[in-house]
Structures are given as structure tokens and as C-alpha cells.
């Protein structure tokens, strides 16, 4: 049924578009790589088949009378109506069918909701518009953001102005790639504690059949036990503001050995970075260095809201060009960036960025787009504000 329908649809599709279908889009739910995802898929298929059969019967009867009981064929209307027997039958049969559907569904659901006895716990926190992963069993946490460059998705010029610089060609994993994927071991029950820092997000990895809303102030639990190593891609699936479409998820499932190796490496790197931060405090960076790093950091972390040209979106995100804060007291500026503004979309970046990046991005904001304060903010300045001095 499924197959005939989908091929049936691809014919007009071919005609309409004129090019060959990019055949890599699956036409059905993924079977996935966990037992649960497989069971969910089976459930989905069974219900679909049942619906198709009911559809065949109902529409069959209908088309039969459309073809045979039409006036142009001389059909005379019968006068029968109301039959309790018939009515009871067509109430009872669907009821029985529903029970037949509900029983396996209940079974799968109970299995999904059994969060006990996990081997590993990871806290997943959504915020506009990135994911934060924190391993409970190791000293490791990091942010994960979209890796597709802006120049690949902003095509505004390309369509109206053929002379304008064409957007970059889109990569293979366009909009489904991140800078730092989540890594988990296979064959282990990994528990996800899903929550949010601001609005509601939803963490969905189709191959695991895990979709769990990230509600601010609450922690929801979900789990996955992956059978096959690989790279699995998902999306944020709850409307979470402007860049809801740009909040992908990538999970890499590794064998236990490789996973352990990865963890050890990451933990070491993070420890080293922390040590380097301390060294930074005594160092002075040149303004040019700061501006260069600042621009990169700005485009990666801030431009989503404040826009690459620093003008913000009026009424939604304030512009930083000519903003009193970016032109005014440095301490205040650092404070806003490090701690955010409570109750607004401006989150605290103190946790997300290193001291060097913070210093750089603040320097950048104070000198770019004609702000020209001439200030060069150093890591030590940022550290001072962080420590509350």
C-alpha cells in the first residue's frame, strides 16, 4: 500500500519538477537504531495498514454506489433507513479495532517511559539557539551549535539580483551539522535529562525515537540504547523563536572503547583550556588580535540576534551600533555579556565563551560599525567583573 502510493506520487512529482528525484529522502518513518525505534516503526506500520484496509472498505463501498447507484444509470432511490443491527455493528467493529491498536501501543509506551537503571546520564539543555550537553559521570560539558555557515543559507541576493555574489553551495549536511556533536557509547542505556534555559525547545533524534520537550524550570527524562555505531542527526522540534530552524542535533554513537578514548581526550582538553585561561589573565592582547577574534566570535555567537551589521532587529533585539551600553561604561557592557539580562533573550555568555573570546567580542562590539570607542578589553577585565570586583 505504502509503496504503491509513494511511487504513485513520485510520477507527478517528476513531471512537475523536471529533474530526477533526489532519491535520498526516505518516504517513511525511520526504523532507527534502537529497539524502541524499531517497535515504534512497527506500531506505525501496523496502524497505517489497518487504516488503509478500513479506507479500502469504506471508500470501496462509496465508489461502488457512486458508480452503480447513479441517476444517469436509472437507479431508483431505495427507501430504507435506520437499522439498529447495522448501527450496532458499525459501532462495535471500530471499537474492537481500536482495542487491538491500543494494546501494543500501551506496551511500547510503558517500555519507553521506564527510565530506570541507566548506565550513563547526560543533561541536555536547550537555549536560543543551541544545545548544551553535560556529562554527569565525567567532568565534561559543552555547547553545540549549527556549523553551516550563514553564507550557505542566506540567498536573498542570489534570487533577485543575478549579479550579486552567489551564496556558497550547500554542503551535504546542510543545516544538520554542528560544531561539537554529542558522543555516546553504544549498547548502554543512556539517560537524557532534558531541560531549557529560556523558552521551550524539544530534543528529537528520529533514529532513537526520542523526542522530549525541554521545558524551562523542569527536567524531563528520556533514554536511548543504541545498537549500531554511527552519526545520527536530529532537530529542535518546538518553535523556539527566530532561529528555531537552525538548531540541529548531532549524536555520534561510538563503541565503548572509542567512547572512553574520546572522553579522556575531551576531559584533558577542557582541563588544559582552564589552565590556559589562568595564564591569559596576565597577558595583554593587541587590539588587532582582539578585533579579529572578536569578529569571529561575534558572528558565531551574537549575530543571530544582534545581526552581523550590529543593527539588531528593531523591536526584538536591540542594535549594538550606537547602543549606550556598547559606548558607555565598560564594566556594564561586560556585565551584560557575561551575565545576560534576566527575563530577556539576552543570555549570559560567561559560561559559554572563554575569557579570551569574551574580551575579544566585547572589544569588537565597542569598535566595530563606527562605535570606535578605542577600548581594548582584556581577559583580566572580564575576569574581574566575573569575580564581582
Amino acid at each position: 500500500m505504502k509503496v504503491t502510493r509513494s511511487t504513485g506520487w513520485s510520477i507527478p512529482a517528476l513531471l512537475a519538477t523536471g529533474n530526477v528525484m533526489a532519491s535520498d529522502m526516505p518516504l517513511n518513518m525511520v526504523q532507527g537504531v534502537t529497539d524502541i525505534s524499531q517497535k515504534t516503526y512497527d506500531l506505525h506500520m501496523n496502524i497505517l495498514y489497518i487504516c488503509c484496509v478500513i479506507g479500502l472498505v469504506v471508500f470501496g463501498a462509496m465508489f461502488w454506489s457512486i458508480f452503480h447507484h447513479r441517476k444517469s444509470k436509472g437507479a431508483k432511490p431505495a427507501t430504507f433507513h435506520e437499522s439498529h443491527t447495522v448501527e450496532i455493528i458499525w459501532t462495535a467493529i471500530p471499537f474492537v479495532i481500536l482495542i487491538a491498536m491500543a494494546v501494543p501501543a500501551t506496551g511500547v509506551l510503558l517500555e519507553i517511559e521506564d527510565n530506570s537503571k541507566s548506565d550513563l546520564t547526560i543533561q541536555v539543555t536547550g537555549s536560543q539557539w543551541k544545545w548544551h550537553y553535560k556529562y554527569f559521570d565525567h567532568d565534561l560539558e559543552y555547547y553545540s551549535v549549527l556549523a553551516t555557515p550563514r553564507a550557505q543559507y542566506e540567498n536573498y541576493n542570489g534570487i533577485f539580483n543575478s549579479n550579486a555574489s552567489k551564496p556558497l553551495p550547500k554542503g551535504e549536511n546542510y543545516l544538520s551539522e554542528v560544531d561539537r556533536p554529542l558522543v555516546i557509547p553504544i549498547n548502554k542505556k543512556v539517560r537524557f535529562l532534558v531541560t531549557s534555559d529560556d523558552v521551550i525547545h524539544s530534543w528529537w533524534v528520529p533514529d532513537f525515537a526520542v523526542k522530549q520537550d525541554a521545558n524551562p524550570g523542569f527536567i524531563n527524562e528520556a533514554w536511548a540504547k543504541v545498537n549500531v555505531p554511527g552519526v545520527y542527526r536530529g532537530k529542535c522540534t518546538e518553535l523556539c523563536g527566530k532561529d528555531h530552524g537552525y538548531m540541529p542535533i548531532v549524536v555520534i554513537a561510538k563503541t565503548q572503547v572509542e567512547y572512553d578514548k574520546w572522553i579522556a581526550e575531551k576531559v584533558a582538553v577542557q582541563a588544559q583550556a582552564k589552565a590556559e585561561e589562568q595564564k591569559l589573565l596576565g597577558m595583554q592582547m593587541s587590539k588587532d588580535e582582539l578585533m579579529a577574534l572578536g569578529e569571529r566570535t561575534y558572528l558565531a555567537s551574537c549575530a543571530a540576534c544582534h545581526q552581523p551589521n550590529g543593527q539588531g532587529l528593531p523591536g526584538v533585539f536591540p542594535g549594538l551600533k550606537d547602543s549606550p551600553i556598547a559606548l558607555g561604561d565598560v564594566k556594564k557592557h561586560i556585565d551584560v555579556v557575561v551575565n545576560g539580562t534576566k527575563g530577556t533573550a539576552m543570555q549570559g555568555f560567561g559560561k559559554q565563551l572563554g575569557l579570551k573570546e569574551l574580551a575579544a567580542v566585547i572589544t569588537y562590539e565597542r569598535n566595530a560599525w563606527g562605535n570606535n570607542t578605542g577600548d581594548a578589553v582584556q581577559a583580566a577585565d572580564v575576569n574581574a567583573v566575573m569575580k564581582g570586583q
Binding site: 471508500f59 447507484h69 509506551l109 523526542k211 524550570g217 518553535l239 523563536g241
Partner: protein
């Protein structure tokens, strides 16, 4: 203002209409008000459809071409709001206004001045909503479901305009519904017992009850939103002991009955049309009445099937799954009834019948996908993907909108006194039927393949299907212009319609002349 004019005695002998603009501004006539509702609704359909065209144009290919993501969200949101509150609901209220008094042998609605008020609130409310798109920071951009805290702490300044305009839209709906209920309870002609009422009247009675029960809850929801955003309350803020999910519970307690508000009158329309063109009595009148009531009652206890991924306790997930599945039973009774009515009938296929038949099939397909969504574990995969978008457009566009089209064709001759252009009508039907499926059917696949809703841009593997969907969308949009042409042509002239119009039509509205006189029954007709 003419306080004590001559309404009392002499309008059954001369059928005079007031003239000029005040005819429409001050009217108490159910037919005029019905007409205004219908035109208003159609205008909103065009505006909401235009927004859908912007959405489809942006999604035509991957990448951001035309609009930025923030505006895209506004389009999605306002498209949903306009279609639901501006197109479908007012269309049904318009039909109710035109038809219910004629069907039950009443001279007008029970509370004609309030009726006028209900209508005139709408243009103002929707102008405010639309105008907010042009404010600094843009209009509502948090989805038609406006989940907190995106719609509270994180929303833009126009939110207040959105909230208050929803308040007055709600007032309008409540007053409209009160009017319908009171008309049906109190204005039936002698002999028109409840179980003799046409099904359209029955379904509207139940719809009106749903409206009065849930629109105030919507008002409560937006009020809490208002105070959370502007006055520091913590309904939806965990830091103060509230819960963002509570918003969803209250919203969907309104929202789910709301979707049935958009389909029950459609059931009524189809139950009028099919017997007429099958020339056979409706198979089970009373079981239809009971089925409608059961759907309405069940609709109060299924709301959380929209929230299955919010992390509710498992007992709740099970309960809402079972309750939701149950709705298939009474809905099935309806579908089977329509089929049994056609069975061994003597069918002809004028445009209203074609739309009604398409309704039965396509609505049922939408119902099947609804049933699939109700299966909690499977919904974890479907939720917030285009599979859901496919589901609700099947029940809303090929359900509600198709039924409204069917109704328009069916009663146009009675309203205007002229037959519409059958050939053009059929063209409209076939164009719509084909394009609507090109538009919405592939959405099932895109959704299953993993494309989320409410995104302005997508991964490359969805590109081809989205292109097809968009093409279907443009074609469906253009097809609606044919409908506009049919209506205008029919108003301006055409073959004179007979009183009964359709050979198999039964009911009081077919006993009076076409076009229906400005004032119908000033003395109650007698129903045998």
C-alpha cells in the same frame, strides 16, 4: 436612529430593504448579517491564503530567499490565526445566520442587535491583528498556539495587541453562539421538535455549546499571558511555582474543542447535501445526533494529545491516548451513515455533491492520520513534523473549507435567486481537488522523513518534495479565484432558480421563494 419603526406589522406584504450604507452598519437582519459574515470570511481566507503562499514561496527551495526567519514565523502564526478565527469560524457563523432561522421557521435570530454587534467586532479585531504585523518588532511570531514563555517573556511588543484582539474575537464568538443557541431553543416554529430539526441546525446547536464552554477559557489563557508578560505573575514560570506546560493544558482545553468547532457544522452541511443528491433519506438521523453529541463531549477530555512529548506522567499519556482514539467511533458512525445514505440512492453529481463526496473521503484520510497521531509512542515521532501539518490541513482544508464551498454552491441559488455556473463550478472543484492533494499529500512523507514544522529552511533531502508541495499550493490558491468568479457571476445574474432548486431537497428553506425574501416567516409556518 429609528426606535419604533414599522417592523411590527407590515413586513409580510412588502419586502422592503433598507438602503444605503446604514443597511449594513445598523442591520438586524439575519440574512444581511450572514452575507457580511460570509464576505468577511472569504476576505480573510484570501489574506490567510496569501500568507500561506508566502510560506510556500519561501519553502520552494532550501535557503532563505524571500523573507527572514522572524517574518516567516509571523507568517506561520498569522496564517494559522487568520484561517482558524477569521476564515473558518466566521464562515460557519455566516451560514448559521443565513440558514438556521430559515430552517426552523423563525423570522430572524433571537437577538438581532447583538447579532450585528458580534459581526462588527470582527473587522476591527482582525484589522488590529493584521496591523500588528507592521509594528516595530513585527506581529505575533510564536505560532497560533502561542506557547508560553515564548509568547510572554520572550515576545515582542505587539503581543498586547494580539492578546486584546483575541479577547474581543472571543466576545464576538460567545455572543454569536449565545444567539444560535437561543434561536434554536426559543424560535422554532410550532411543530419543529428537536428531533425534526435539520442536522445542520443540530450540529450548530452543539457547536454553539462548545463555543460558549471554551472561548472563555481562551480568554482566561490570554489574560494569564498578559499578566505574566506585563504584570509579573508566574503562571507559566517555574521560578515562581508555575509551569509553562500549564499554559498548554489550558490552551488545549480550549484548542481541542475548537478544532471540533471547525468540523461539526461541516458534518451538518454534508448531512444536508448528501441526502439531497442521493435522493434518499439520511440513513440514521438519530444516530447522527447522538454521534455529534458524543464527539462534543469527548472533545473535552482529549486535549493533552497535543502535548504528548511534554513529559506528562505516563498514566496521563495513556488516558489521553485512549480517550482520543475513542473519538474515532462516533466519527466512524457519521462516515458510515453518509455511505449508507448513498447506497442504493439515485445520485447526481452537481458541484455541491462533488465537494461533499470529496469531503467524505479526504476528511476520513485526515481522520486516519489523526488516529495515528493519537498513538502516543508513534506520536513521539510524528509530533511537530509536517505529518501533523498534513493531518490538520486534511481535516481543515479538505474538511472544513470544502464543506463551506459545498454549502456555498448548495445554497447560492437560494441566496441570490440565480443558478451558479455549473461548468465553472465543476472546473473549480476539479482544479481544487487535484491541487489540494498535490499540496497536502506529500506533506505526510516529508513529515515522516523528519522535517519539523515551523521552519523557514530545511535539509537538502526535503527539497524536491517541498517544491511539489509549493507548486500544489500555488495551484490550489489560484483555483480559489475561480470560486470568486463563480460567486460574483451568480450574484450578478444567471438562470432563475426555482424555489426548491434541487430535485431532492427537503426542508423549510426550500419552501420559500428564491432569492429568499428579506423577511421570511413573520408568522410561524406549521410543521407537520
Amino acid at each position: 436612529m429609528s426606535t419604533m419603526t414599522d417592523t411590527h406589522d407590515d413586513h409580510d406584504d412588502h419586502d422592503h430593504k433598507p438602503t444605503g450604507i446604514t443597511r449594513w452598519l445598523y442591520t438586524t437582519n439575519h440574512k444581511d448579517i450572514g452575507t457580511m459574515y460570509l464576505w468577511f470570511s472569504f476576505t480573510m481566507f484570501l489574506i490567510g491564503g496569501f500568507m500561506a503562499m508566502i510560506i510556500r514561496a519561501e519553502l520552494y527551495q532550501p535557503g532563505l530567499q524571500i523573507i527572514d526567519p522572524n517574518f516567516f514565523n509571523q507568517m506561520t502564526t498569522v496564517h494559522g490565526l487568520i484561517m482558524v478565527f477569521g476564515a473558518v469560524m466566521p464562515a460557519f457563523v455566516g451560514l448559521a445566520n443565513w440558514l438556521i432561522p430559515m430552517m426552523i421557521g423563525a423570522p430572524d435570530m433571537a437577538l438581532p442587535r447583538m447579532n450585528n454587534w458580534s459581526f462588527w467586532i470582527l473587522p476591527f479585531a482582525f484589522s488590529i491583528l493584521l496591523a500588528s504585523l507592521f509594528m516595530e518588532g513585527g506581529g505575533p511570531n510564536f505560532g497560533w498556539t502561542f506557547y508560553a514563555p515564548l509568547s510572554t517573556t520572550y515576545s515582542n511588543d505587539s503581543t498586547a495587541f494580539f492578546i486584546f484582539s483575541v479577547h474581543i474575537m472571543g466576545m464576538s464568538s460567545i455572543m454569536g453562539a449565545i444567539n444560535v443557541i437561543v434561536t434554536i431553543f426559543n424560535m422554532r416554529a410550532p411543530g419543529m421538535t428537536f428531533m425534526k430539526m435539520p442536522l445542520f441546525v443540530w450540529t450548530w446547536l452543539i457547536t454553539a455549546f462548545l463555543l460558549i464552554a471554551v472561548m472563555p477559557v481562551l480568554a482566561g489563557t490570554v489574560t494569564m499571558m498578559l499578566t505574566d508578560k506585563y504584570f509579573g505573575t508566574s503562571f507559566f514560570d517555574a521560578a515562581g511555582g508555575g509551569d509553562p506546560v500549564m499554559f498548554q493544558h489550558i490552551f488545549w482545553f480550549f484548542g481541542h474543542p475548537e478544532v471540533y468547532i471547525m468540523i461539526l457544522p461541516a458534518f451538518g452541511i454534508v448531512s444536508e447535501i448528501i441526502p439531497t443528491f442521493a435522493r434518499k433519506r439520511l440513513f440514521g438521523y438519530s444516530s447522527m445526533v447522538y454521534a455529534t453529541s458524543s464527539i462534543a463531549l469527548l472533545s473535552f477530555i482529549v486535549w493533552a494529545h497535543h502535548m504528548l512529548t511534554t513529559g506528562m506522567p505516563v498514566a496521563a499519556e495513556l488516558f489521553f491516548m485512549y480517550a482520543t482514539m475513542l473519538i474515532s467511533v462516533p466519527t466512524g458512525v457519521k462516515v458510515f451513515n453518509w455511505v449508507a445514505t448513498m447506497w442504493k440512492g439515485s445520485m447526481t453529481f452537481e458541484t455541491p455533491m462533488l465537494f461533499a463526496l470529496a469531503f467524505v473521503i479526504l476528511f476520513t484520510i485526515g481522520g486516519f492520520s489523526g488516529l495515528m497521531l493519537a498513538i502516543t509512542p508513534a506520536d513521539f515521532q510524528y509530533h511537530d513534523t509536517y505529518f501533523v501539518v498534513a493531518h490538520f490541513h486534511y481535516v481543515l482544508v479538505t474538511g472544513a473549507i470544502f464543506s463551506i464551498m459545498a454549502a456555498a454552491y448548495y445554497w447560492l441559488p437560494k441566496w441570490t435567486g440565480h443558478m451558479y455556473d455549473e461548468k465553472l463550478g465543476k472546473t473549480h472543484f476539479w482544479c481544487s481537488l487535484i491541487s489540494v492533494n498535490v499540496l497536502f499529500f506529500p506533506m505526510h512523507f516529508v513529515g515522516l522523513a523528519g522535517m519539523p514544522r515551523r521552519i523557514p529552511d530545511y535539509a537538502l533531502q526535503f527539497a524536491d518534495f517541498n517544491k511539489i508541495i509549493s507548486i500544489g499550493g500555488f495551484a490550489f490558491g489560484l483555483s480559489q479565484l475561480i470560486f470568486l468568479a463563480v460567486v460574483i457571476k451568480c450574484i450578478r445574474g444567471g438562470e432563475k432558480a426555482t424555489d426548491r432548486v434541487w430535485e431532492g431537497a427537503t426542508g423549510l428553506e426550500w419552501e420559500i421563494p428564491s432569492p429568499a425574501p428579506y423577511h421570511t416567516f413573520s408568522t410561524p409556518p406549521e410543521i407537520k
